[in-house]
């Protein structure tokens, strides 16, 4: 007989490096993404985009296109009339203040690549061909797309989108600056970036006989898409079912319904036929993006390296029709102990589409500037950059004065530095060389929120001992399927094979869109509570059984292991779940979590994840070639549910940080008001050959406040600070401060 201890550890899944439960589907090509569902007679739609950034459509000539055999219909503002035109109908859960973009609303062009027509044909080939025959005449109007030229037009937004926090000042930074021993001041700039998930944005819409729609959509939130469709097309929610079981990456781009969803639904409802619309890679540069942002940092410190004042200004682009806001400057008031902080966040409306949350929105931008500035300050003070961070470490949130629910950034610094070998670093720039190459070591800190948002899960166990848990959440590659399966299996002591977790269906119980690193914590807690309820029911059934061995066992002494309900010290004293259900004639038990918010005790605490990132670069100065050769990312993110999938998240985030530092830039040609590098050849993202060794360390961090499982989320924290660490390493290698991102070879020469 195996010991209880062994049995219990066998049943422990939380914290284990379990391979993805959807792995087989993904490696065999059987995982289906939104544009891969089909229906008999499926029609294909192709979107035509505006080549001008601002103006009006004068005429659309589509006779030639319509004459092509197999072309079903061509839609534009000219023939799409009976939709509601209230802004409210088009609002999605991202809730940007302003007036959302409404496709085919009028002949007005608000941004380059705005969708202006939709060609529906029997085949993709025909749609593509016919689209080339549509002649559209435009009248152009003057436009502005250049942020740096329009900084003086910046205004302070009164309201922001969901999650926006107005920056808070404290002390008197201005006065402190005049007195301080050491000061630095620097400006940083980066252009727009586009998410560019590998999967093209796609929606397949199947029209049902009863007028219902079954929609396969590329989205981070099926309920968001569902309510958008219901409101825009004025159909009942229950007549729209949105499914999204697999999402080929999103990184924020799926937080708002994109226009292919509108297009496919429009045509399907009008024609009463199944329709699929897939955007091209080029068209994926026509919607939201990380906004171009200009920043200014002023830091003041005492001679011994204590921060005395921080001033952070950020000015970002937004569209003319919505105020997209981010928490960019806020982090500068929270990462270090400092009494005098002045933060300023403003927007410049331009003739572009509204920006959109992109991995670690706000923090990726703001922490980049702050952490570069900290490095500049360290060199001004003549102290080690890591030492400067340690000197200004804060145990409580300096903004709110609240304690952190947990914060083990200290161990991130210590372990990160140790694994990286930071103590061997030679302080002066240009002092470390390897052959002809300059070597540079840089570091950065990072910080993100540990969020909990209302979410639900439903769990159902059947008499055969199989458990199915459902929630309308999403898995955008984050591992949701896997970690939820782990939590459910562990809570009910079931083998993993007997548990399945289903998501991405608007029929399931409520979950918000997957964003902000909040899913593991929010949905994970919901899964835990739903399964706990089943556990209670099972236990009470078990105790009531005639001659139940568990009748007199205290609830605290009960464990659920290997499909059995056992006394923790005596495995003989147990009943199998199946037997309990069988003997009580229970066909199934189904439960939902009830409390949507975890606990009020959270309110007394600041809840955040933290990181320390160490980066090595090697630079060929003659050619300006920069390669990142080594990264150590030490992460404090509470309880790690699955180190395998969590490391992947961090590695991905780190690569995104490297990309932000060296590669990514949606290059706006201000003559046309258009992103000109709008494809994968010209929009550079890291490839295999750009990949350094990345070591991910999760430091111990026990947190009993954030949620019962101590989950904080890992989707964003990997990118935050990484770009700064790269830039700082480049400075250390070359002695050059490049403050204009990405740092391309030309800027080093």
């Amino acid at each position: 007989m195996t010991t209880i201890a062994a049995d219990i550890s066998q049943a422990s899944y939380i914290g284990q490096p379990i391979s993805r439960v959807d792995g087989v589907a993904k490696v065999t090509g059987t995982a289906r993404y939104a544009g891969e569902y089909t229906a008999p007679g499926l029609l294909h739609g192709l979107v035509i985009s505006s080549p001008v950034a601002k103006g009006r459509i004068l005429s659309i000539q589509s006779e030639e296109a319509r004459a092509v055999n197999g072309i079903i219909k061509i839609y534009s503002h000219e023939n799409v009339k009976d939709l509601p035109w209230f802004d409210l109908s088009y609002k999605d859960m991202n809730l940007l203040p302003g007036s959302p973009f409404r496709p085919f609303y009028s002949n007005e062009i608000q941004f380059s690549q705005q969708p202006v027509a939709l060609v529906i044909a029997e085949s993709l080939e025909l749609a593509r061909y016919a689209a080339t025959l549509v002649r559209i005449e435009y009248e152009t109007a003057p436009f502005e797309t250049d942020l740096e030229n329009n900084l003086e037009n910046a205004f302070t937004p009164k309201r922001g989108k969901t999650g926006y926090k107005k920056p808070k000042n404290r002390g008197n930074a201005k006065k402190q600056f005049t007195k301080a021993d050491v000061k630095i001041e620097a400006e940083y700039m980066h252009g727009a970036e586009h998410h560019n998930p590998m999967e093209l944005f796609s929606s397949t819409v199947v029209y049902g006989k009863d007028g219902s729609l079954t929609v396969y959509d590329k989205t981070q939130g099926v309920l968001n898409s569902q309510s958008y469709i219901a409101r825009v097309f004025d159909i009942k929610h229950k007549k729209v079912r949105v499914l999204s079981p697999f999402v080929g990456g999103a990184f924020g781009s799926g937080l708002r319904p994109q226009y292919q969803l509108f297009m496919a639904c429009l045509a399907a409802l009008d024609l009463q036929l199944p329709v699929r619309v897939v955007l091209t890679r080029q068209q994926m540069f026509s919607f939201g993006h990380r906004p171009a942002t200009w920043q200014k940092l002023k830091l003041a410190a005492s001679n011994d390296g204590r921060l005395e004042a921080i001033e952070h200004t950020a000015i970002s682009e937004t569209s003319r029709f919505e105020n997209y806001t981010e928490n960019i400057v806020n982090w500068s008031g929270r990462l270090y102990s400092c009494d005098h902080v002045k933060l300023d966040y403003r927007l410049v409306p331009l003739d572009v589409n509204s920006p959109l949350d992109m991995r670690a929105p706000g923090a990726a931008t703001g922490v980049l500037a702050l952490e570069c500035a900290m490095d500049e300050l360290a060199y001004k003070l003549n102290i080690d950059p890591l030492v400067l961070r340690l000197k200004n470490y804060t145990e409580k949130d300096p903004e709110s004065g609240k304690p952190f629910s947990s914060k083990n950034l200290m161990d991130c610094y210590k372990q990160g530095a140790e694994h990286f070998g930071w103590e061997k670093r030679i302080y002066s720039p240009r002092s470390m060389k390897q052959g002809k190459q300059l070597v540079g070591w840089g570091m950065s800190s990072g910080m993100w929120d540990a969020m909990m948002v209302p979410a639900r899960a439903q769990a159902k166990i059947t008499a055969d001992g199989k458990l199915v848990v459902t929630s309308a959440t999403s898995d955008i590659g984050t591992g949701t399927y896997t970690i939820m399966t782990q939590i459910a299996a562990e809570t009910l002591g079931l083998p993993l094979e007997d548990v399945s977790f289903e998501l991405g269906d608007s029929k399931f119980v409520f979950a918000p869109f997957e964003g902000g690193s909040a899913t593991a914590a929010s949905v994970g807690t919901a899964v835990l509570f739903a399964c706990k309820k089943i556990r209670e029911k099972l236990l009470s059934l078990a105790k009531k059984l005639e001659q139940s061995p568990l009748a007199n066992v205290q609830d605290e002494e009960i464990v659920f292991v290997n499909g059995r309900i056992c006394h923790q010290d005596d495995i003989e004293c147990s009943l199998s779940i199946r037997e309990v259900m069988d003997r009580t004639g229970t066909k199934y038990i189904q439960e939902k979590n009830s409390d949507l918010r975890a606990m009020f005790k959270q309110l007394g605490y600041a809840r955040n994840t933290h990181s320390a990132i160490f980066v090595e670069v090697k630079i060929d100065e003659d050619l300006g070639l920069i390669s990142v050769t080594r990264v150590v990312a030490a992460i404090a993110a509470g309880n790690i549910l699955n180190p395998k999938t969590a490391s992947s998240q961090i590695m991905g985030g780190v690569m995104w940080g490297i990309s932000m530092a060296l590669h990514e830039d949606s290059f706006m040609d201000h003559q046309y008001g258009r992103f000109i590098n709008h494809d994968y050849a010209e929009y550079h993202i890291p490839v295999h050959a750009d990949t350094p060794d990345i070591e991910v360390i999760f430091v111990q961090e026990k947190d009993t406040v954030v949620n019962p499982l101590g989950i904080k989320g890992v989707g964003e924290i990997g990118i935050i600070g990484t770009a700064a660490a790269v830039a700082n390493a480049i400075y250390h290698a070359t002695g050059k401060r490049i403050r204009d991102f990405p740092i391309t070879p030309d800027k080093l020469l």
Binding site: V27, S123, H688
Partner: protein, 181 residues
């Protein structure tokens, strides 16, 4: 202002406008099965697989030969199926991701990808796996750096690169490289 798009269309007006469907019979040999399709001659091999044969395991990430998501094996050689026409591959053995496993037994690369968590969203994965098999068939990958270099035509926006390389290395090291497929 006469804009860019109008100009493009004006030039094209010189070409004859096709109003009737022109379908060609095309015979494809995919994963050991023969198919006869009737396709517009300009149907890419990728669209033939995905739209006409329902083999959606092969992915479309750009349609321009820039991402590698559509990588398949033609007679053991890896190609971007979006960059070529279906009519050009009549009768040539084509292997897609759906043809790699032997029944329930996964191909060693597929197994190694799962073990090393060599993907997140999974959208680039079929292309990565086919490309890796193509690279092994070429026989030039001797080191980790070689693999990084030779796999660089396959983008992964989730950036699972290091785990992909680990998975491939394991397959090479354990000598379980299957015969060329």
């Amino acid at each position: 202002m006469k804009d860019i798009m109008n100009k493009e269309v004006d030039d094209r007006k010189e070409d004859a406008i096709v109003t009737e469907k022109q379908l060609l019979p095309v015979q494809l040999n995919v994963n050991g099965k023969q198919y006869i399709l009737h396709l517009e001659p300009w149907t890419s091999l990728l669209d033939a697989l995905r739209e006409h044969l329902g083999l959606t395991g092969t992915k479309k990430g750009c349609d321009h030969g820039q991402c590698g998501a559509c990588t398949i094996l033609i007679d053991g050689k890896r190609i971007n199926s979006c960059l070529t026409f279906a009519v050009m591959y009549q009768g040539v053995p084509i292997t897609t991701i759906e043809g790699l496993a032997q029944g329930d037994k996964l191909h060693p690369l597929q197994q190694a990808f799962i073990k090393h968590d060599a993907f997140q969203c999974g959208y680039c994965t079929p292309g990565q796996i086919c490309s890796a098999q193509g690279m092994l068939n070429e026989g030039h990958a001797y080191s980790r750096d070689d693999i990084h270099e030779l796999m660089s035509g396959n983008l992964c926006r989730c950036a699972a690169y290091n785990n992909i390389v680990k998975a491939i290395e394991e397959v090479i090291e354990t000598g379980q490289t299957p015969d060329a497929v």
